[in-house]
Each structure stands twice: as C-alpha cells, then as structure tokens.
C-alpha cells in the first residue's frame, strides 16, 4: 500500500517590513500635519467660533475670551464685565497680568508699553519667529459678539501692552 505523504505547508508570515514602511509614513504625516500649540487654546463651552478664510495656524500666546458680555482672562474662570473695559483699577490690571504672564513667558515675549511720541515703534511681529520681543494675545469671541464689545476689549488690552491681537476662527470649509 502506498500512502501519500502529507504536504508540509510553509507557515504564513506577515510582511513586517512593508508594514513598517507604511507606519513610518503615517508617523511623518501625523507629525507634519498637526498642530500641538493649539492645545494651549481653550474654547469656553457654549462659544461658537466665527468662520474665517485665514490660512495661518495659531501661534502660542495668552488668550482672552468674550462671551455673554464677559471677558474671560486666560483659560480660567476669572471674568470681567465688558462695561469694565477701559475702567480697570490697578488691582484688576495686576490680576490680569498675573494670569496671562505664565503663557506670555512661555511664548518668549513680554508686554511692550506703547511707544512714546517721536519714538520708533517696535518692529512688526513675525509669524515665523515667535520669539520676537512682541506679544501676541489671542482673542476668542462668539460669532454673534457685537463689534462694540470686540473693540472695547482690543482697546483695553492694547493699552495693557499687548500689541498684536490674534483673531481666532474656525477654518472655512471649501464648497
């Protein structure tokens, strides 16, 4: 009697080298295509950001949020009424500066006082070099916030030394 020898099948092994190639490309894509600085931006709950066609990604900076006639300083619950803008006392100003200072220090900048008449102004801030001796202040506001509130806040914080304001929005999706 003749018995057929059973076929010995080769064990199937996954192609690990090609998988590593794919994973490496995935990692490069994730590193290149993502923003990590935005983790510092905290959007208060219930706030609807406006839509914008701006192309720039946010820079690391201190933030203020305008919502329901209140100005929230930093990512804290510390809030001031819009009506107080322009009429802040020294204690309130110091409080605002102490909240915003850690982030400002992290971004490598400090508030610059307004130039005296006849004095040369500081150079324009650069998006590429965020270590300029200039300060960005991110302004977050609900899309329904009236311009009068926005302007009051801009005026107040510029007076405090924050020169370049960052108007934040969600990217507009192409149709």
């Amino acid at each position: 009697m003749q018995f057929e020898k059973p076929h010995r099948q080769e064990p199937v092994e996954p192609q690990l080298a090609t998988m590593i190639d794919v994973f490496s490309i995935l990692i490069i894509f994730l590193i290149a295509g993502s923003n990590y600085d935005t983790s510092s931006i905290v959007i208060p709950g219930g706030l609807n950001l406006p839509v914008t066609q701006a192309k720039d990604a946010p820079v690391l900076s201190a933030q203020i949020a305008i919502m329901n006639k209140k100005v929230y300083v930093g990512a804290t619950e510390e809030a001031f009424s819009i009506d107080q803008m322009g009429n802040l006392n020294l204690e309130q100003i110091e409080k605002i500066k102490s909240i915003l200072a850690p982030v400002s220090a992290k971004s490598g900048a400090s508030p610059q006082p307004a130039p005296e008449p006849g004095q040369e102004p500081a150079p324009k801030p650069s998006l590429i070099n965020n270590k300029d001796p200039y300060l960005f202040l991110t302004l977050i506001a609900d899309k329904a916030t009236p311009y009068s509130d926005i302007f009051a806040v801009m005026k107040q914080f510029r007076a405090l030394g924050y020169k370049s304001l960052v108007l934040l929005g969600s990217p507009k999706k192409a149709k």
């Binding site: 990692i27 994730l30 990590y36 931006i41 311009y147 926005i150 005026k155 960052v166």
Partner: protein, 171 residues
Amino acid sequence: MNLGLSQKKRFHVREIPLAPVLDLLTVVVFFLLLSASFDVFRQHIVPPAQIVSQPSSAQTEPDQIPLNPKLLVDASSDKVLRVSLIWGGAAPGAIVKQAKELQGDYLSDGAQNIATEFKNKFPNEKALQIGFTSDTPYQKVLEIYDGVAKEYKDLVFISNAETDTLVQGQQ
C-alpha cells in the same frame, strides 16, 4: 585522513527583529493621533498700526491731501447691510455696495472687490482703516477682514463710535 580542512562554516544570517519595531511604531501612531489636533483653528494677526516718519504716498507732492481711506461696514442687520469705502484727498469719493452686490452669504469676496477697485484707483495707498457699526456681529467682522486682508496688509481698526457717526453722516 583528516587534513585539517574543516567543513565551511555556514553563516546564519541574523534578521533584525521587526515585530518590536512595529509595536513601537503602533504606540507612536496612537500617541500622535490622540495628542494632535488637525486644522482646528485659523487666525488673523492684527499688528499695531504702523507709525511712519516718512510722508505717505499721497503726501509726496505738497498740494496733495492724504486720502485716509476708510472702509465702513454697516451690518447691524442683514436688511441694511452696506459696505462703503470713503476717501478724502484732492478728489474725495466713495465706493458703496449694498447687500445684494456683495455676492453670496460670505462677505469676503464682496469686500475684496471693493478693496481691489480702490487699489486700482490709488495703487500707491498702502494702508486702510476699517470700521464696523456697534451691532455688527463678529462673524461679519472676520468675513470683511478676510476679503480686505487679501489686498491690504496694513489694516487698522477704527472705533465703532467713529464708524457709527460716519455711517449716520452718509445716510
């Protein structure tokens, strides 16, 4: 007879262990996916107004008066939405567009068209002031800014009080 000729050694090709490398990459991918954010926010930077010691383009000739162009947006309600660009100088003028002429829901293109029209008339003018009436919602502010910023890099916000006065004066 042994002549001392041993058999050729068979070299065993050692393979790099790929499985732990793959494990590591998987962990890194998950870490990046969870910690990163994609295209969440966009921004406009509003730098301080530029103070120049040199005379503006409109003042290069002594008889010329500065243009001081102002883009005024009256967007208190959609029904009366109106964008006007006014300027002074020797021959003051204005470009006024109503809601219907501003193309679509998003005001950016309409605002850009006005800025382009003005730029074609006065190519040497580098700065533009923009103002909005008090009730203009922030969304409209950014839409207008989106359009105008494509033509002018030096933009200065003017107060709502001044804009309100100027808009009322136009009516």
